[in-house]
């Protein structure tokens, strides 16, 4: 193959340059490797710790929506006009209660925290952190 020896020389020269650079950067290389190793350990530890903390979400009470396992429970809640609805985050992840078109935004609700909403109209809402979480509030006829 024409030109192949030249390319191989080129690659060899490049790797030789790398070797020189690596000698200078060795401590940084070890630090970066250690950083990835720390993240590799931290990820399952964080997940296990949050699983242990957040298991056993209670059922939703009257006019209460529970956030658990990346869902709103119940997904449809029927309430009287003007009533208060309490959203409780029993999940291991933060969530939001957001209906942008109605100007409703709870902000971030961390695990164990809640958000109260006065309902004067039907509301379709989502969690902006987990957009597959969708639910609605309906007014009793």
């Amino acid at each position: 193959m024409p030109g192949l020896p030249e390319l191989r020389l080129d690659l060899a020269s490049c790797m030789a340059q790398d070797t020189e650079v690596e000698k200078v950067r060795h401590p940084a290389g070890i630090a970066v490797t250690a950083l990835w190793a720390a993240l590799a350990v931290a990820a399952p530890v964080v997940i296990a710790e949050r699983q242990a903390r957040g298991s056993g979400a209670p059922p939703a009470g009257r006019n209460t929506v529970v956030m658990a396992q990346i869902t709103f429970r119940p997904s449809t809640l029927v309430v009287d006009k003007g009533s208060h609805v309490l959203f409780v985050n029993k999940d291991v992840a933060p969530h939001t209660v957001t209906a942008a078109s109605l100007g409703i935004d709870s902000g971030v609700i961390n695990p164990g925290k809640g958000f109260r909403l006065v309902v004067n109209q039907a509301v379709d809402y989502v969690c902006t952190i987990h957009p597959s979480m969708k639910a609605k509030l309906l007014l009793r006829a």
């Binding site: 490797t33 590799a40 997940i47 291991v92 952190i129």
Partner: protein, 144 residues
């Protein structure tokens, strides 16, 4: 931290993470092409192997830096749930990428041997990033 980042991004933290994740995935694809050129497996892109090595190094550093930023916001924020299946797979892919990066950097920077394994490690890394992208960005797009 999530509250702070949500504020900085105007309550669009997830959108920013989706964009960054897509950039990282695209860079991972670029890495494959330039690694193939560097290892003389392919003549594309039509540049010298030395130039391919430089581009591979720079785009790789950019990819892992952006990837680390996204990963840290995940660990500080939503990491934890293991259901639905998509979230479980995302956690597995994310952890796997950390492990693969540890192995790759150990080979490159600490052991400085075993270079023949790099193509396999790189392929696994690309597949890991593909898995992360598929279990987050695809869900974000389809749920809109």
């Amino acid at each position: 931290m999530v509250r702070l980042l949500n504020g900085i991004t105007g309550n669009n933290l997830l959108l920013y993470k989706v964009i960054l994740t897509s950039i990282v995935f695209a860079l991972a694809g670029v890495q494959v092409f330039f690694a193939a050129r560097l290892w003389d497996v392919s003549s594309f892109p039509p540049i010298s192997a030395a130039s391919a090595a430089r581009v591979h190094r720079v785009s790789g550093r950019l990819a892992v830096t952006l990837g680390a930023v996204v990963a840290l916001t995940c660990l500080a924020g939503p990491a934890g749930p293991l259901s639905p299946t998509r979230v479980l797979l995302h956690s597995i892919f994310g952890t796997a990428v950390f492990v693969i990066l540890t192995v790759k950097f150990a080979v490159l920077k600490v052991l400085r041997s075993g270079g023949n394994a790099l193509p396999y490690i790189g392929t696994a890394l690309f597949l890991g990033f593909a898995g992360i992208w598929a279990t987050t960005v695809a869900d974000y797009v389809t749920s809109r």
